[in-house]
Point group: C2
């Protein structure tokens, strides 16, 4: 097991009827920037309810609305300007991971003299940030409890993750009922996203991080059980609750600490989203089984770990090689049959291979110390197999 | 799943060579009360190393030494007096759970005008506390990352748990090498303690807290794998590391949040320790299989949950009733054969039943809303079966 520092300061209020905790924002001052997306929180009534609690608590509200899926640097710049112009004390995101990611870099940008894009390219430049709070409406990225934010500059086909302890949310409200109206497409994509975060931690080269591996299996089994239930019964509270909490635990540091390894499926998917603006979770689902097959074909020494995955998560039995291969096919079946997700790049509108080389070159820079190292050529072959 | 609040603010520095983080104590002031036990930290050199780091950081040290296993209220009173007399800014425990528990109530007692025993009887009376830090030398109680403390007044045969968010350690150093010298007896007792914490969370009446249950199984499997390795190879780093981290996660709130249930084996054991000063983990190991058999015999509706335990933790297969019964026997075998722990009350020196009625009456007060409710008579029958 590696040395690690565990620090998860975010207070989570989980369950039905926790929104009243927004009154606690007054501990951070009196002026809040309220960040949200396309307006679904207005249709659901959540916006009105939150505004009432904030106003009743004596907080004045400035708004940054219209944050995009795959949030754009333009929104971040606008938010940071609003903070500076209005002397904002704290940032509250109400939405999914995109909204929270945007709010985090806004909170850092508000305390930074340069262009916030510099903070996206280099998280270590974040030296201060306004306190961040969130109300989660989509179970997926885990941004409600972690240090990360992913921001895109589509004018440059760039999508990068940044991170800083300073933007970890102070407090997040996780009410599973807010996800009852999430579409089947987004429910599936969110489930794939949290499973991918877990896989990125689970397939590690660190020996002896057994507890972390067992915890990963616990999260994966939860997603595999409740993802399909949430699709079939969108208002099944326990399904939505288990997915919501699994999404937070998948990336808050619990599964990673002591088992650190470079991620690789995420860097590859970020290129797909940067060039084609596809849904992140769908890109991850498409790439994951292809990547697993690549590992099995080219790195026989990794077969045992894929076999453990098959035994402990899918209850398979048999010889290592057989179980490992079956586990990969189970994973593909789960995403593409059970969760009804698009199974290849063409199905999400990537109908030409013209950018594969450029995307692979960029992704390869992030895949050097991953579970198996991936070169530009390896990644092109993975994109090809996913086409 | 229940509503819950998750708040685990303790920063953990885990791994070899993390002691230098003690220099961070100066963030809390300049005068530290150093709390420790019987002097093993002096023999190991840890004391000298810690004192040097503290002194080099400009901290002045006052000492409270000789804290007992099953720490006594007399030590707590002495510590609180030292804090008041020396204007102490923070409390640093170096030791196992007993030392940390003592330090927590000392930290609260330092900010309390009355007798600290009142804070043991009623944790809600803790309205302020000095910051608590710890360096862990024994994997067992999880006190390094939780809000709880258990203190005894042997003059009254009383042993009670108290708790407050205010005494959660600010930072704890978890270096598995500090546990290389822990005796087989204490290694086994510590493993039983963390497993018991996990069982108390795992056997819940809350429906739909599936993720929490899966996480419990992850912790249990880790203990079952590495407990015996730590016994056979005391300096096996991965074994000590997995046990150390499992001990912290078992009781820091992760397994409990959303799945809350009253504990019952702990209240029963606390009476044994209060009356006979036995090793807590040994008492838990003795009572656990007996309690499981009581559940199976008297509450057929719980068979399925014991069977899940058998399947998911012990890899058993078959009908519910068969698997459930086998799982209990596997648990007993693990404690008494594999971990070589005393198997009944007589083996830990409780050779008469004269206090059973009084102990059962006190324990029953804490077992009303547990997995199965336990009356005084039920508890006497459990003590009898454990005799």
């Amino acid at each position: 097991m590696n040395n690690f520092t565990y620090s998860i300061p975010t207070v989570i209020h989980f369950g039905r009827g926790q929104l009243h905790h927004l009154s606690e924002l007054k501990q951070s001052g009196s002026r809040v920037l309220l960040v949200y997306g396309g307006g679904s929180i207005k249709r659901s009534g959540l916006y009105d309810e939150a505004v009432k609690i904030l106003t009743d608590s004596g907080l004045s509200i400035t708004e940054l609305s219209g944050v995009e899926p795959n949030p754009r640097i333009e929104s971040v710049r606008r938010g940071a300007e609003l903070c500076k112009a209005n002397n904002i004390d704290m940032v509250l995101a109400i939405g999914g991971g995109s909204t929270i990611d945007c709010a985090k870099v806004v909170a850092a940008g508000a305390c930074y003299d340069g262009d916030p894009w510099e903070l996206v390219l280099d998280g270590s430049k974040i030296k201060a940030a306004l306190p961040v709070y969130s109300v989660l409406t989509l179970s997926a990225t885990g941004s409600e409890m972690d240090k990360y934010a992913v921001i895109s500059d589509l004018s440059k086909n760039e999508k990068w993750g940044t991170g800083s302890d300073l933007v970890k949310p102070v407090m997040s409200v996780l009410d599973p009922t807010y996800t009852f109206t999430v579409s089947p497409k987004q429910t599936a994509a969110g489930t794939a996203d949290m499973m991918s975060h877990t896989f990125e931690n689970y397939f590690t080269n660190v020996r002896g991080a057994e507890l972390q591996g067992n915890l990963c299996e616990a999260v994966l089994k939860t997603c595999i059980k409740y993802g399909p239930i949430a699709l079939a019964e969108p208002e099944n509270y326990d399904a939505r609750a288990n997915l919501m909490w699994a999404g937070s635990l998948a990336i808050n540091g619990l599964l990673k600490g002591g088992a650190e390894v470079g991620w690789c499926v995420h860097p590859m998917e970020h290129e797909l989203s940067a060039f084609y603006d596809i849904t992140h979770g769908e890109g991850l689902a498409i790439l994951t089984p292809v990547w697993m097959r690549f590992v099995l074909k080219n790195y026989p020494s990794k077969t045992a770990q894929l076999a453990s995955y098959g035994r402990n998560v899918w209850n398979l039995s048999g010889e290592d090689s057989e179980v490992a291969n079956k586990a990969v096919e189970k994973t593909a079946e789960f995403f593409f049959d059970t969760m009804k997700m698009p199974a290849n790049l063409r199905a999400v509108g990537i109908t030409e291979k013209v950018h594969f080389e450029e995307m692979a070159e960029k992704a390869a820079a992030g895949c050097e110390d991953s579970f198996v190292p991936l070169t530009k050529e390896d990644i092109i072959s993975i994109f090809d197999a996913a086409f």
